[in-house]
């Protein structure tokens, strides 16, 4: 057990004790309730790691900074609390870049702490110097270069406030080595005023009345719920909103779990690999209520001219810049999704939607997601995901990498709770899933956490096996192994005349042996029988586990909408090409 910090600072300044900058940093983090730092040491953060040695905050030593930041991200996605990651200057800092961009695109609250060379050496191309504040300017919500020890508490307070207020996002704090070595007294501010920080106001009665009026006039309404619902912890409010108004719901990839998949009003995911019902509801609706969704090109296919053309659009979002960015909005409501829905629910009555609901149910019945589940030519990846769903009753935390397996998880895992799907939706980062699962497992030790990955993505951050082995973190790693880069191969098959350029991953290691080399138990499965047995054992194993599912490499993700075409042009299966 880590020793506790002996005393809180005295707010009237009686505490004259001097601390180093790194102690002040850690004390500030403790003040913010930080329990866990994910990181990797190096020269410029030596003082901070020296202070960490006293054990004020738990630290997970990753095996690559990218592993550390995705773990911090997974922690944040699973809890809603900011994930904290630390790395040294130069290469340590630049190795965070992919993870910062990943968090930025998906609005994940994160605090990224980097060391830098001493102030006197800044700008001299010193050893391991990189201008990380300059580099991360476009991929952080805000960033800081700390220029004096006195600034540390205020900057930390501001960073946490910015990361978690309004639309969340990553904030980076770059601390030169001499600043973390300097000495000063410590007082932590109770609050900070940040003039340039946008804080949404409560919705007005006028807005709520307008919303209800438009709903009453609609005959074919549909809700498009996005990641904002999850970020705002607004699942309960959304369920009440949809059920009271009797409006069907489609959830984007980031919104999965924001509305229970097993609810009758759920239409599935929309967009490029969306369900027939979801896409046709978007095409034919007369009212589209976007809630915490940003109408990105994987949903609209970038063809606004073919997207919800007959519909009025209500857009509820915490970020004013999302209003009218991609689609023209009839009723914009800027605000916290949870607050807006709660206000609307007070007086909401049902839309005149019963015929429309019948139409949607008809689509669901006629065009469900389907695949041939024969395991004659290898396991079907869709079957594997369905099996994971059945054995965990849709209640596990599932992280993914990017590509085919990600879409199959989105399609076939029936998420019932928010913060259960951890997936890089915006940036589409391979190598994200496994470390994110580690972070989530740290945050939720009692939940089943499954990292679904591919044989490609797993090799991008597989080194973190050392962490799960050493700390006995019971993450279950599911490799959907088709021995190729499946989604790229699928595109080459469909759009590039089967010219399979550089997608063959022959030469990958034996993942069972690889896991065992790290001391992680592992199984392989090539048919349903083996798969059922292996998964059962892995799921009940008390420690980390790897299951290498050898699947049919020719399987494609359907339905599919080709980029540049409208949602009405869905390919439902191989035979249609």
């Amino acid at each position: 057990m880590a020793p506790q910090l002996e005393s809180k600072t005295n707010s009237i300044g009686l505490d004259e004790k001097k601390y180093t900058g790194s102690e002040i940093l850690l004390r500030s983090l403790v003040e913010e309730g930080v329990e866990m730092i994910f990181g990797y040491p190096g020269g410029a953060v030596l003082p901070i790691y020296d202070s960490l040695y006293d054990g004020h905050v738990r630290h997970m030593l990753a095996r690559h900074e990218q592993g550390a930041i995705h773990a911090a991200d997974g922690y944040a996605r699973a809890t809603g609390k900011p994930g904290v990651v630390m790395a040294t200057s130069g290469p340590g800092a630049t190795n965070l870049v992919t993870g910062i961009a990943t968090a930025m695109m998906d609005s994940i609250p994160m605090i990224c702490i980097t060391g830098n060379v001493p102030l006197s050496l800044l700008g001299t191309d010193a050893f391991q110097e990189a201008d990380i504040t300059g580099i991360t300017m476009p991929i952080t919500k805000h960033n800081y270069l700390v220029r004096s020890i006195e600034e540390i508490p205020t900057i930390v307070k501001e960073a946490f406030t910015i990361a978690t207020t309004g639309r969340p996002g990553p904030v980076l704090i770059d601390i030169p080595k001499d600043v973390s070595q300097a000495m000063s007294t410590f007082t932590y501010p109770e609050k900070v005023e940040i003039r340039g920080l946008f804080q949404p106001e409560a919705p007005t009665d006028v807005q709520i009345n307008r919303l209800q009026q438009v709903i009453q006039q609609a005959e074919r309404p549909v809700i498009l719920a996005g990641g904002g619902v999850v970020r705002a912890n607004a699942q309960a409010e959304l369920i009440e909103f949809a059920e009271k108004s009797n409006i069907p719901v489609t959830t984007t990839l980031m919104g999965l779990g924001g509305f229970p998949s097993r609810n009758e009003l759920w239409l599935g995911m929309p967009g490029m690999h969306g369900t027939y019902a979801a896409n046709h509801a978007l095409l034919e609706c007369d009212l589209l209520i976007g809630i915490g969704a940003r109408f990105d090109d994987r949903v609209t296919m970038g063809r606004i001219d073919k997207f919800a053309t007959g519909a009025k659009i209500i857009h509820i979002d915490i970020d004013p810049a999302e209003i009218d960015k991609n689609v023209h909005t009839y009723v914009p409501i800027v605000g916290d999704v949870k607050q807006v829905l709660a206000a609307a629910n007070e007086t909401l009555s049902s839309a005149n939607s019963s015929n429309w609901i019948k139409q949607c149910d008809d689509w669901k019945a006629k065009f469900p997601l389907q695949y041939d589940d024969s395991d004659e030519n290898g396991l079907k990846p869709q079957w594997v995901i369905e099996h994971l769903d059945e054995t965990t009753e849709g209640k596990a935390i599932v992280s993914t990498d990017v590509g085919q397996h990600q879409m199959w998880v989105a399609q076939y895992y029936q998420f019932s709770e928010p913060r259960s799907l951890l997936s890089s939706g915006g940036l589409g980062t391979m190598g994200f899933g496994f470390p994110a699962a580690i972070g989530a497992q740290f945050a939720s030790p009692d939940r089943t956490v499954i990292a679904v990955t591919g044989d490609g993505g797993f090799q991008m951050t597989a080194q973190e096996l050392a962490v799960v082995a050493l700390e006995n973190i019971p993450v279950k790693i599911v490799i959907i192994n088709n021995q190729c880069l499946g989604m790229v191969r699928q595109w080459q098959e469909v759009f590039y005349k089967e010219r399979y350029s550089e997608v063959d991953l022959s030469g990958s290691p034996d993942f069972v042996k690889l896991a065992e080399a790290y001391g992680v138990k592992a199984w392989r499965a090539t048919n349903k029988e083996e798969a059922t047995q292996a998964w059962k054992e892995a799921l009940h194993h008390s420690g980390p586990a790897v299951v290498d599912f050898w699947v049919n490499p020719n399987e494609n993700v359907y339905p599919m909408v080709a980029p540049g075409t409208g949602l009405d042009e869905m390919m439902m299966g191989d035979e249609e090409q």
């Binding site: 300059g134 476009p138 805000h142 270069l145 003039r195 340039g196 960015k325």
Partner: protein, 167 residues
Amino acid sequence: MSHILSVLVNNRPRVLARVSSLLGQRNFNIESISVGQSEEKDLSRMIIVTGGDERTLNQVSKQLSKLIDVIEVRTITESTSVERELMLIRVTSEPNVRMEIQGIVDPFRASVVDVGHDSLMLQATGDRAKLDTLTELLRPYGILEVARTGVIALSRELNQTSLTTVI
């Protein structure tokens, strides 16, 4: 079509970089940008002239507002604002054409601020169109160097339309 944005920002290192980086990242075109002290001690005012349609302008404003160092973004309409730019321009000027150049300078209320053996440096203020015109008139004499500050602008006081024509 170009628009003028008046942006109040924290007077801190790198704020200009943040603003211009954002404009570049979002593919917004900058025609000119000028920064200086504002009426508030710790704040600077940036005047950004940007191209694009109404929708683009709307996005630029909203994206700029998201920057933590940006306190306020206002659009300035040309018809209800005062727009000024300062230009220094050095033109070739043999002694025999100096009087001729002076004749061009006067109607523009420009002034000669430096005289060399073969050149004159002129200073002119006004809106962009005026400075463009002056530049074109001077071009035949041979322009050696031009430096312009970029546009600064302030909105005229609201509801005082009768006064706006006076100045």
